[in-house]
Subunit: 413 residues, 2 copies
């Protein structure tokens, strides 16, 4: 099909909620003044969406993967790959990745502190010292992230991800030996054997590193080993543009979502002032989204603020975050043409009463001047149940967008 349509998928992170007592029993979406979202509801089709399936508590990573068209039950083996990608590491399909801690061990490899005295400086130097080690045909890429944390990417042929942890997950115990969960699984055996060698190598390199010598001189615990955990294999999945026949860009704030977008080979657009907090410059993000439409047909935008407020249990802050997203919606609406598509939803609920992700469905609205119109006239958890979309799943979202855009191939004759 020929189409010049463009689509924006705007995700208010954790935006959906439950009744909040301090808001008079309304949800933040009900309590907020959202004329622009409500206009989308009046002019479009609304409903409820379960990111994975009803009742399942999803993370931001699994929620986004599902909404972007990838079934997490099939492709998500652990946080490692997307965390590594999120801090800017190259992660290729088949790579095995880990979340890591810098830790302190004694000469017998007994763990004295799993966070190396909560080291906050010098980790870049330490990471550089152990980055790029090759053992057999596998190269170990390592990069520091926040505080004592980092990520490891094992790159090489024939690696498996079914391996036990090295991190004993408590102190005063010797580090464990990674082992394949199934002895017959030669790919995972390869990963475990090389990983065990690499961990010992990090100790040999780090124990005498100048950063650690300086720490010890000041009475601080040395960051003399790296403990990997959260193993996952980078799934062999199609790139986003290939899967959906779009040219995509991504305006997002958090590393985890950046990592997903990067892995899917979406264009990453940096926005000065986009902090991921409640103070983030959302209008700058909205401008970046509209600008991206000049040379992309699909833009994913994730705003983290509502999730932050939900985790804090702060209903009023969540109302304000939502109202600022509504202003973004107003700007986006003004800048869309006759064939364009705007979809607003959340990746999961973060109810103030729970202060964490819940398994409640999230509202979603599909808007296009060429699309259907239903009886729903407001955008919130309760109103959308009167909408025409009914109750759909995350993996339904992209097909519903690409058919509205008119870029989806017909299945059949």
């Amino acid at each position: 099909m020929e189409s010049n349509a463009r689509a924006i998928l705007l995700i208010g992170d954790g935006m959906a909620d439950r009744p909040v007592a301090s808001l008079g029993g309304r949800t933040p979406l009900e309590a907020a003044d959202t004329p622009n979202m409500n206009r989308l509801a009046r002019e479009g089709e609304s409903g409820l969406m379960d990111p994975i399936r009803p009742g399942i508590r999803v993370g931001s990573d699994t929620g986004h993967l599902a909404i972007l068209g990838y079934d997490p039950y099939k492709i998500y083996t652990g946080r490692g790959p997307f965390e590594a990608a999120g801090i800017g590491m190259d992660v290729s399909r088949g790579d095995v990745s880990f979340r890591c801690n810098f830790a302190t061990v004694d000469a017998n490899l007994k763990v004295l502190d799993r966070r190396a005295g909560r080291i906050s400086e010098g980790t870049k130097e330490l990471a550089d010292a152990i980055n790029g080690i090759t053992i057999d045909d596998v190269t170990f890429f390592f990069k520091e992230s926040v505080a004592h944390r980092g990520a490891l990417v094992m790159h090489g042929p024939g690696l498996g991800a079914q391996v036990s942890d090295i991190d004993p997950h408590r102190e005063n115990e010797r580090i464990l030996e990674a082992a394949p969960l199934d002895e017959q699984d030669s790919a995972s055996k390869k990963t475990a054997d090389l990983l065990n060698q690499w961990v010992l190598r990090t100790y040999e390199i780090l124990k005498d590193h100048p950063v650690n010598k300086a720490r010890e001189a000041q009475g601080q615990l040395p960051a003399n080993i790296v403990l990997p955990r959260g193993v996952g294999i980078a799934p062999d999945i199609a790139e986003f543009d290939t899967l959906h026949d779009v040219v995509s860009a991504c305006v997002v704030e958090t590393g985890l979502i950046r990592g997903i977008a990067r892995y899917l080979n979406m264009d990453l657009i940096d926005v000065p002032g986009a902090t991921g907090g409640l103070d983030s410059d959302l209008m700058a993000m909205a401008h970046a989204v509209v600008d991206a439409l000049d040379n992309h047909t699909f833009v994913l935008c994730n705003v983290k603020g509502p999730d932050v407020a939900g985790h804090d249990g702060d209903g009023q802050a969540k109302v304000e975050a939502i109202q600022r997203i509504d202003q973004m919606v107003g700007y986006l609406y003004e800048n869309l043409g006759d064939t364009d598509v705007l979809v607003v939803t959340a990746d999961h609920s973060t109810p103030c009463v729970v202060k964490d992700h819940s398994g409640d469905a999230v509202p979603i609205v599909f808007w296009s001047r060429r699309g259907r119109i239903d009886d729903c006239t407001e955008f919130n958890e309760r109103a959308v149940t009167r909408g025409g979309v009914g109750r759909i799943r995350g993996t339904d979202v992209m097909p519903l967008i690409t058919q509205l855009m008119g870029v989806q191939e017909k299945f059949g004759a």
Copy 2:
């Protein structure tokens, strides 16, 4: 997640229905006075639930299995295992079980009466005489149930359940030889070979048993053989508490549901006066449910009455059964705390006009003081279509409960 929430899942067996002429075209749920269920609807979220999938006519066993989180298409091979468990037999994962009849055969093993003259006494003695036979490495446990019925459990290694019937299902034909449905299926071949030997053994033991000698002396047909049918293999599924991270109990009336609960290792609670009929002492059951919450976090309660009335095609009796369940709901409601969850639904529809299970969806309401509220204000088949739950499936029910309780692990970051 830390949580002190508890949940009750109250199932009105076959409670859902269709319009009944004698009720002025209303369903029994519409015609009944149900202030307590309606309060749940006003304060909670309602919708329709297909126990398996839309239009599928389910049994009480398959309906309950699905609602409890087990996909019957994957794990349900036949009634045998759950019937055997339901009459109190030990059934282990991998056992092959059968529903059985005591029957009468002549010396050529031609079936004279498939129900042994509808024998009603002496079956315990007969069952004891053939219980515990071992052939090769398989032990055959047998127990009588009601009238001419019983159940057989084959316990031993490497058994399959793809075998043809021994029961010819009509009279004046010789009993059949069980055979594997696929000759290459050595596990099922083992089952068939041993089962054929066992059936002949029952004839050898029973034909001269004093109970049968006495029957023959009185001109009654002897129960001189056992005919197995309804083969099923006990599925290798997780126990309920492990699957859902709860501590569960079960207040149910019928053997079939007891069998399921037993197999899932839920605590079975006996309630004097719970008969499974329209005269059952439902308030005693309600008290038992609330008592069970003292040391359990999840209680399943099944009330059989509405199904009995539906099978009878008696709309007025069904209205009365529903009103008595509504009184239970009132008592349960009064005894639940701020974080607790109450869910009311049915395992299937038993419409009076059908006098059997239909494939119609059933209403369901999720209530918690911490949960969402929708626009539905009554609990019946028609009103819940305005609810926020939309149309879900049986296997969605437990995730929706455990996320409301706050005991479900997050999938992802």
